[in-house]
């Protein structure tokens, strides 16, 4: 039984990239706690360590030192396959460039996380259709990404992020490739999901986007600064 209210708890997280003769510190002594149901935005200029933080939070990268509890589980020292398992279960990703498989339909893209979770074909198909319908894409179920607008593609990506019912949605510049109108649309969807109880961590360099979150943290030279 998980009894924690913290979906993310990071203590002294440091990430050093070892180069040929000198190491680069990308993250330095990060202490970060995100409570369930929060809507947090992390901002920072390029090179501030934003991407590294997002990779560490998203279990795509391992910290050099420090401890990281994801939904009560210590995930700081996991191997590649265990990381994959935790990612699949706990985190829904929304990327800047959507990252949909170009030759697969909307439904096929949405069911991907469920395939790796071992969900039965019938169950995952029903879930995918349900999610896409909720996001207003019921007429686009069998369309390929190139037959949809950017906003529609990002909504397919959001449906995919929700497929395994994770508590945490990690969105990396989700509006970066969208026009203002579609961007607003995606932000409204994220806000709605937050209202329904999902924890949202949004990484962005745009202040007006960050301003829509309930809490903003600023990253500078690999260190967190509260604004």
């Amino acid at each position: 039984m998980k009894t924690t209210d913290d979906i993310i708890k990071m203590v002294d997280i440091t990430k050093v990239y070892t180069g040929v003769d000198v190491g680069t510190t990308a993250l330095k002594d990060i202490d970060l706690v995100v409570k369930k149901g929060e809507f947090l935005a992390i901002t920072g200029r390029s090179g501030s360590g934003k991407s590294t933080l997002m990779h560490v939070v998203g279990l795509l990268d391992t910290p050099t030192s420090g401890t990281y509890f994801l939904n009560g589980t210590d995930v700081s020292k996991l191997g590649e396959d265990e990381q994959a398992f935790q990612r699949n279960k706990e985190i829904g990703f929304v990327f800047q460039s959507f990252n949909l498989l170009p030759k697969s339909s909307a439904v096929e893209n949405v069911i991907l996380p469920a395939i790796y979770a071992g969900t039965s074909p019938k169950e995952r198909m029903e879930k995918a259709v349900e999610l896409l319908t909720e996001l207003g894409l019921e007429d686009h179920l069998n369309k390929r990404p190139n037959q949809m607008s950017g906003g529609q593609q990002q909504r397919v990506a959001i449906a995919r992020a929700l497929m395994n019912d994770p508590e945490l949605i990690l969105a990396d510049e989700p509006t970066g490739n969208l026009d203002t109108h579609s961007g607003k649309d995606v932000m409204n969807t994220l806000k709605q999901l937050n209202k329904e109880g999902k924890t949202i961590v949004l990484i962005t360099h745009e202040h007006d986007i960050a301003a829509q979150a309930k809490k903003i943290l600023h990253l500078e030279d690999g260190m967190l600064v509260t604004k």
Binding site: A84, N99, L101, S104, Y116
Partner: protein, 394 residues
């Protein structure tokens, strides 16, 4: 991922690059096709020769010109009609003897001509040595006709049908080349051997053939011991007879058994060599699969990163790409087997060829193995990609 999901996924990827997949599978198809066809021809040949030799019986001996396995027979053939006659006299109570001379000849009766027939010069004991030959009409020429130098012939079914259709050929005189021969018998159908019609021929005495063509040598002498138990004695008598005029380098003695051993070792080596050559083309096909899978992994780096980010484990990616390589290779293999069997059946009509189950199983096994072996390195490479690097890849 279960097999069905892997199958759908790999078929989709293969179908998504039709031309490329087709060209890659073609490499495997050609390799497998070559294995099936060449092995079929090899084993067809072996079956045919084995049957021919066994049909002669275990009491048969062949006396060949030249030492065993040497080139003497081609360079200078010293085995003569006279040797055959001497042997016949020596073996009078132990066996039957016939020489064999073969010449392509033009047959002519009235105004009908056939340029592709051939004349076989043998002794009157031929039907007792080569027992598959059955005279169905009239009789084989006799020892008396042989020694008196009578120009008599025994013709095959093709000759009979061509020149005499429904009329009785016995007693008719036919030109075999420049000389006229009286037909005394017709022999039953022998069929075709490697495309040569054994029924488009006429048997005459070796002496008649020798004088007509101005030759004294024979291509071989066949001997049948009266009983298999007499075989050692017969071989001894042959050696005694021939050693009077020939050295041991001038001739060799083969029994049906020794011939079978020699020939099956030759055809086995042949099958192996043919299979080996085909194996090389399959190897080249496999390299093609490896190459295209490496390209595919590079092209789909981003897809691999995404799948990993969404929860795919190393093993999931490995299986996906390995399965795709095996599917490519097996598709090529199945098409190759089908084409190979089809062509082997067509070859069997013209020449000899037997599709063997083991070559089909082997070829299928090979194509699976090629897929696994050559797909492994690209699949491992794909499975080791880090999700961040792969996602960033453009």
């Amino acid at each position: 991922m279960n097999i069905q999901e892997l199958l759908t996924l790999s078929l989709k990827a293969i179908w998504g690059n039709k031309l490329r997949s087709f060209l890659t599978t073609l490499g495997i198809t050609i390799g497998v096709f070559a294995i099936i066809v060449l092995v079929s021809i090899g084993s067809g040949l072996q079956t045919y020769i084995t049957n021919e030799i066994s049909s002669l019986g275990s009491n048969v001996i062949f006396v060949m010109p030249g030492s065993s396995g040497g080139l003497g027979a081609i360079l200078s053939n010293k085995l003569t009609i006279k040797n055959s006659q001497d042997m016949q006299r020596r073996l009078v109570s132990t066996g039957k003897v016939t020489p064999e001379i073969r010449q392509v000849e033009t047959f002519k009766y009235k105004n009908v001509k056939d340029k592709g027939a051939f004349v076989l010069g043998v002794s009157s004991q031929y039907p007792e040595v080569v027992q598959v030959l059955k005279v169905t009409q009239g009789h084989f020429f006799t020892a008396g006709q042989e020694s008196s130098g009578a120009n008599v012939a025994v013709i095959g079914q093709t000759v009979k049908n061509k020149f005499f259709s429904n009329s009785n050929p016995l007693g008719k005189r036919i030109f075999l080349g420049t000389k006229l021969y009286t037909i005394v018998g017709v022999y039953g159908k022998l069929g075709s051997v490697a495309g040569i019609d054994e029924d488009n021929a006429a048997f005459i005495s070796a002496e008649a053939a020798g004088s007509q063509y101005g030759i004294t040598t024979v291509s071989r002498i066949d001997v049948a011991a009266n009983t298999p138990e007499l075989l050692p004695l017969v071989i001894k008598q042959i050696n005694q007879t021939l050693s009077k005029t020939l050295t041991s380098d001038d001739y060799s003695i083969e029994t049906a058994d020794s011939l079978l051993t020699t020939i099956s070792s030759i055809t086995n080596a042949l099958s192996l060599a043919l299979g080996g050559i085909a194996g090389i083309s399959l190897l080249v096909g496999g390299i093609g699969v490896a190459n295209i899978m490496l390209v595919s992994v590079t092209e789909r780096t981003k897809e691999i990163g995404l799948r990993k980010a969404l929860g795919a484990k190393r093993n999931d990616i490995l299986k996906q790409f390995l399965f795709e390589a095996v599917m490519l290779s097996v598709t090529g293999g199945v098409v190759g087997i089908a084409l190979g069997m089809l062509v082997s059946v067509v070859i069997a009509i013209l020449l000899v060829s037997t599709v063997t189950l083991w070559s089909v199983v082997l070829a299928f096994g090979f194509s699976v193995a090629v897929g696994i072996i050559f797909g492994m390195a690209p699949a491992i490479r794909a499975s080791k990609l880090s999700p961040i690097d792969a996602l960033r890849y453009e």
